[in-house]
Symmetry: C2
Subunit: 482 residues, 2 copies
């Protein structure tokens, strides 16, 4: 294992690239721009994240289905705003074998048009509502911006849930439920804090009434949208004729929402939030290897080897994912390797440990060494998952909090953003009218964007919009984005 | 629920279409030929099948990864036989947004060329071997034959495992392990019997040294290949330069195998093997609803309702997927509905049951009613999964066995195949030389194909090839195929 030791805050871009390589996570050397290979270490963690999301979706009454990954052009065009937003990014399939297809097919950049084509057949009565379905699938977007593994790929996997309701109120409640799911998985379980913004009118999902985006904040001072959830209103149910016969016999359009947690981006935020100059730091639940045992040998020592095997057996019997590293590497090399891989605990067993019937445990989350009696191991293992989760979350939240500064002028926004922080400012409006000011701001700050108002935080704007000087109606948050 | 009552053996094609519709499994009304939507009932069962396969793959040392779903044309062309076999079936992506792509991309019809591009970077030393990885992904094939949901789609999901070894012996052992996995999941767990054929030289996977295919036998007398496994030899490791440095310092090519269980086809065979004129029959493990409780009410009856709720609670506490059907439908309608859905057991609770503290249980696998003491329920539930699995498997195996008849002439093959059976015949050779005879056979029997020799069954051919009259070297099995 070569040296790592890149400072995450100083040089995030290089740090991120290196950790993807050294922890054998994602390989960008596949010869198609924006299409990457997820190695087993990455897929393991991403699968765990998927499972957590799927678990919550099932708990909240969603059923899993699977839909085609290609859309005839005529269907993609049915909702006018939607096609306008996505058309520049669609990969088109035009041939099957040597034949031209009768109609070209877009690879799904998102699945509204595919799913609602079927919903119009499946939803018939008020008894079918609410209708809550999700799928796990790849999506493709021909991004024109610089691609970066996990952060911006042209092909990625996500979960998308699409729900239909009788009333706007129910749809709005669903948006809240989606936010709650994101909170429970991404912040509670994975320890990644985020802001939940209501996006300005000019930055919403193509075809939505409102968009709410969860933004993690990366070590280089950029927002990374992880999931977003959309109140679609009746825009799609009109275009796709998704209707139900109500109790009163009338045919009515459904209210719709959709929610799209992109697992690769959540994973990227997870790596970036907890990783350090030694490599990955992982929660117990997501770690491919939860505990690694390193025998500290000076030459051969049967007792140490025997103890190491016993400890391994004890852990295996408790279904712990444990590795006994008895390779030829030195203990130091082993320490480096497993710290890079993010194994949550390392159990060191040397002469002292055998003699005193103790175990030395190095925690990856705190970096501290703890000594326990060997017979306390099972108890220790029961308590450690929760401790690690809390510790990682606490560290992340502390860093996350101090990042916001008030800005009175565009110049101040620029300074704050250049320091890698979030600017908070008075703003005329997040309706369409505010777009002029947003464009000015972005061009004068080398790319800073209005991310929106914090959802549910009733912040009273006192003063003038920092761009146009009109009476401010909103308090918005501004920063660079991925 | 409309009447079903189509005889599976008499009219399999209609039966299969109807069950996909009525049990809300797969919807072919999506407006792209061969691209279908998998409704929640189907996805649930397919997910369970996937999990069983993944479990076995992990148990046998495979790790899960994820690879791009698109291949640059130049890479697809690297292995000559492979591109020749697959080129007619590739869907081509030619545009991103409005721009032509610099090189057109094929949607993966199978992932050898994608994965081995990366393996050539990831495998470096003898220490990396054996190298065993699988992925779960969609694949696309522009089939020119008639498409049918699950049986032949243009887009489907599968698992593919790709393994690399130092020696041919290890690779051959892997083929055996793959067969074993298929056996354990498809036959043992799902109760679907199959033959494992070594395919003739002219019917092997494009790029393979040998192909072994597992063929289920459908009620209309056609073979359905479910998984296949391939000994790839060094064909791909040469083309993709997948090499390792051996102990002796020499750079050597790996031996490779791959294995591709297509979940949709396994699911189709599963539906077809166990389903009957009333609908699906499912094993306990795969059933979305394992037990349904139907109260038999004549007007209101608090005691019955109370007992039904208690029974539901008892089952939920044991993590059983249970439904209490208290809808407004009649008991008869409920019976029909849940038989269609394949719920393994139905618990009927009426006045008698309440009075005598009994439960009447109707089993979907045997069609028999059983009466048990209410307090025996937990015991009953512990034993029933295994009983159902064995019963379904037994019924399927009995039907499967009597299907083979010996044929002495091509005419006899035609007669046997027309009766929906499998013909067993002497054959000159399954090497390239035998292809002439196979072509003649197919044309004279309206499409019957030589599926191969039964792998590991050392059958001695005594006599002449039924087509050319030369000395027979093999005993082959012949039938129509999907």
């Amino acid at each position: 294992m070569a040296e790592f030791n890149i400072d995450k805050e100083e040089n995030f871009s290089e740090w991120f690239d290196e950790i993807l390589k050294k922890a054998e996570l994602v390989d960008k050397r596949y010869p198609v721009k924006g299409f990457v290979a997820h190695r087993p270490n990455a897929e393991y963690i991403e699968d765990k994240i998927q499972e957590m999301l799927e678990h919550k979706l099932k708990e909240t009454g969603h059923r899993k289905a699977r839909f085609p990954n290609a859309i005839p052009e005529s269907i993609l065009q049915k909702e006018a705003d939607h096609i306008e937003g996505f058309e520049p990014e669609v990969f088109w399939i035009t041939k099957g074998g040597k034949k031209d297809l009768p109609e070209r097919l877009g690879l799904t950049p998102t699945s509204e048009t595919v799913m609602y084509t079927m919903y119009s057949k499946w939803i018939t009565s008020y008894r079918d509502l609410p209708y809550k379905i999700y799928q796990r699938c790849p999506v493709w977007r021909h991004e024109t911006k610089h691609t970066r593994p996990l952060l911006r790929d042209r092909e990625f996997e996500w979960i998308e849930s699409h729900d239909a309701f009788k009333t706007r109120e129910e749809a709005e409640e669903q948006v809240e439920e989606d936010i709650e799911i994101a909170q429970q998985v991404i912040t509670e379980k994975l320890g990644v804090p985020f802001h939940y913004f209501k996006r300005p009118e000019w930055d919403k999902f193509s075809g939505a009434v409102h968009t709410f985006g969860a933004d993690a904040f990366m070590p280089d001072g950029r927002f990374l949208q992880i999931p977003s959830t959309h109140l679609l209103g009746k825009n799609f149910s009109k275009a796709f004729n998704v209707t139900y016969e109500d109790r009163d016999g009338e045919e009515k359009q459904v209210w719709q929402t959709c929610f799209g947690p992109a697992v690769g981006r959540i994973f990227a935020a997870y790596i970036a939030t907890h990783g350090d100059e030694k490599g990955l730091r992982l929660t117990w639940e997501t770690a491919p290897t939860q505990a690694v045992i390193v025998p500290i040998l000076h030459g051969e020592n049967k007792e140490i080897e025997q103890t190491a095997k016993e400890v391994k057996k004890t852990l295996e019997d408790k279904n712990i994912r444990v590795e006994l590293d008895d390779s030829e590497a030195t203990p130091g090399e082993k320490f480096n390797h497993w710290e890079m891989m993010g194994a949550p605990i390392r159990i060191e067993i040397g002469e002292n440990e055998v003699e005193e019937e103790k175990l030395t445990i190095k925690r990856r989350d705190t970096g501290e060494r703890e000594e326990i009696d060997k017979k306390e191991l099972e108890q220790y293992i029961e308590e450690i998952p929760e401790k690690i989760r809390k510790e990682l979350r606490k560290q992340a939240q502390e860093k996350f909090k101090g990042n916001i500064e008030n800005a009175e002028t565009v110049k101040e926004v620029k300074e704050i953003v250049e320091q890698g922080k979030i600017a908070r400012a008075n703003w005329c409006s997040i309706d369409k009218d505010g777009k002029k000011c947003a464009d000015i701001l972005t061009s004068e700050t080398a790319g800073a964007k209005v991310r929106g108002t914090i959802h549910h935080k009733e912040e009273e704007a006192k003063g003038k919009c920092i761009v146009c000087g009109e009476e401010a109606k909103e308090v918005v948050y501004i920063g660079k984005e991925y």
